[in-house]
């Protein structure tokens, strides 16, 4: 997977993609934490 050449539009695209991915990963972490809290024997 190769990135397109860098340009200012490209920087904005990278930023938007980074933010989306970060929120997604954060949501995964919180979901895992909450699931953990409900673990019973």
């Amino acid at each position: 997977m190769s990135n397109p050449p860098a340009a200012s539009a490209d920087a904005a695209w990278r930023r938007a993609r980074s933010n989306r991915m970060a929120w997604l990963l954060g949501a995964f972490v919180i979901a895992l934490y909450i699931t953990g809290l409900f673990i019973q024997r």
Binding site: N3, A6, S18, A22, L25, L32, Y33, T35, G36, I39
Partner: protein, 532 residues
């Protein structure tokens, strides 16, 4: 892997930036934040080290000399938590902050403000961890947690104020790690220079990518477990209380689901940086790049399915014992691939032994001992003898000191001239290496034999027949501890001045970071390089 690049002219220019404390509080620059992580890590390394020197002083001879057993237990638990969460993990994150953007040709981390926040959670977390010691001096509480770093229930359910402080500290450390990990993942996926495909990614970045995924998969489980512990302690739940229908072994499962991958979280970044060092000082390309990448992935996957080998003696069903034994042993296969690649990188190379290379080779030899003794511990039948003995203490210090801390030292000596623009003292570096290696073995090799002879861990007093080896171990520990002052002094002198480092620093260095000036400009790769 050789990379032909086009480097923008301005990449060698430096820009003005403001100084003062406010800079460090508010900075979003990956180099500043990397420096803060590394400095914090070094300070906490000495804090954790001082604690364990007090422990070793107590163990110098049989009988109680210096402290009560409760305080002894507290020192051991906090030493481990400090070394893991406040020394080793921040050091690895410091490397990631400094190096990943430089190595992948990115102007900064993808989420710079999150980066700042991630770091500044660490000082309050470390304060929470050591605060109970201070409070106890004023008659508040009974000191820090005395459960060991594992918080095992039901002891931790019954423990004092120190357990609550440690629970909150671990939460903060965890949030910081998750923030750092998310940042590293999105940076590697989204900020690579044009032309840098995943299979051209530096091995250090690959290793950190796997580490970051391990962190976000396991830290929430630890956080969940200690939150449940907190509710057991204060809100009437019985997750881990057998009297209320709970299960103390459940805590062990949850803790080690985090705890075992944590070992690889501490080691993988080092395994990623060592091949760069070996390649540089052997003046040869890394051997088996793809094999190493696949080995990192395999180790990452296996590390989350082997956790119960930490409590074989807790009474698990036999099929579970057999499964966890074989899955644990299976990790030795990808690890053997890594060892093979590291040795093959040096094979017939034009080797020279500057300090980073000494540490890298020392790491390979000594970490091999950790791997081999790990295989012994993975054997269910043999583990019944080794469990909770000094054999385990020796094993995991061979893993975490040589595999973790010596690896960090490898990286520091390797990249310090790039970061500061000055060469460190090679003479001091070599003294530091040899004193560290000799005193480390003096400290921990006797502990294998103490363990085999039956000395249990976490005891302040012991039977007379263990006296000689304990005395040797304590002497080694003090030499080891004080020889680390050479490391700190060498870094300090290098930061303050010294011989000017060239841009490439090492004759055999390859990769994007060496194409920048030493030190790199405050804002680097604003125009990304293109890989041909």
């Amino acid at each position: 892997m050789s990379i032909a690049t086009t480097v923008p002219e301005h990449a060698h220019h430096d820009g003005p930036y403001s100084g003062g404390m406010l800079r460090w509080l508010t900075t979003t620059n990956h180099k500043d934040i990397g420096t803060m992580y590394m400095t914090f890590s070094l300070v906490m390394f000495f804090v954790g080290g001082a604690m364990i020197l007090a422990v070793r002083a107590e163990l110098f001879q049989p009988g109680l000399q210096l402290m009560q057993p409760e305080f002894f237990n507290q020192l051991i638990g906090v030493h481990a938590l400090v070394m893991i969460f406040a020394a080793l993990m921040p050091a690895a994150t410091g490397f990631a902050n400094w190096q990943i953007p430089l190595m992948i040709g990115a102007p900064d981390m993808a989420l710079p403000r999150l980066n700042n926040w991630g770091f500044w959670l660490l000082p309050p977390a470390a304060t929470l961890l050591v605060m109970p010691f201070v409070l106890a001096l004023f008659g508040i509480g009974d000191g820090a947690l005395a459960t060991g770093w594992t918080f095992y229930a039901p002891l931790s359910v019954q423990g004092g104020l120190g357990v609550d402080f440690a629970i909150f500290a671990v939460h903060l450390f965890g949030v910081s790690s998750v923030m750092g990990s998310i940042n590293i993942i999105v940076t590697i996926f989204n900020m690579r220079a044009p032309g840098m495909s995943m299979m051209k990614l530096p091995l250090f970045a690959w290793a950190w990518l796997i580490t970051a995924f391990l962190l976000i998969a396991t830290i929430p489980v630890l956080a969940g477990a200690v939150t449940m512990l907190l509710t057991d302690r204060h809100f009437g739940t019985h997750f881990f209380n057998a009297a209320g229908g709970g299960d103390p072994i459940l805590f062990q499962h949850l803790f080690w689901f985090f705890g075992h991958p944590e070992v690889y979280i501490l080691l993988l970044p080092v395994w990623g940086l060592v091949p760069h060092v070996l390649s540089t000082f052997s003046r040869k390309p890394v051997y088996g790049y793809k094999a190493q990448v696949y080995a990192f992935i395999a180790i990452g996957l296996l590390s989350v399915v082997v956790w119960a080998h930490h409590f074989f003696t807790a009474g698990l069903p036999v099929p579970a014992l057999i499964y966890f034994m074989f899955s644990t042993m299976a990790i030795s296969l990808p690890l053997a691939v890594l060892f093979f690649c590291w040795i093959a990188t040096m094979w017939r190379g034009s080797m020279s032994f500057e300090t980073p290379m000494l540490f890298a080779v020392g790491f390979i030899v000594l970490f091999g001992i950790a791997g081999l003794t790990g295989l012994l511990l993975a054997d269910v039948a043999a583990d019944a003898q080794y469990h909770h003995s000094y054999f385990v203490v020796a094993h995991f210090h061979y893993a975490l000191f040589t595999g973790g801390i010596m690896g960090v030292m490898t990286g520091v000596y390797y990249w310090l001239p790039k970061w500061t623009g000055h060469m460190y003292s090679e003479t001091l570096g070599k003294w530091h290496f040899w004193l560290t290696v000799v005193s480390f073995n003096l400290t921990f090799m006797p502990q294998f034999f103490l363990g085999l002879a039956g000395m249990p861990r976490r005891i302040p007093d012991y039977a007379l027949q263990f006296a000689e080896f304990n005395a040797i171990s304590t002497i080694g520990a003090f030499i080891l501890g004080f020889s680390q002052l050479l490391f700190a002094w060498n870094i300090w002198c290098c930061v303050r001045g010294g011989e000017k480092a060239s841009d490439k620093v090492w004759e055999g260095s390859e990769g994007l970071e060496w194409q920048l000036s030493s030190p790199p400009p405050h804002h680097s790769w604003e125009i990304q390089p293109e890989l041909k």
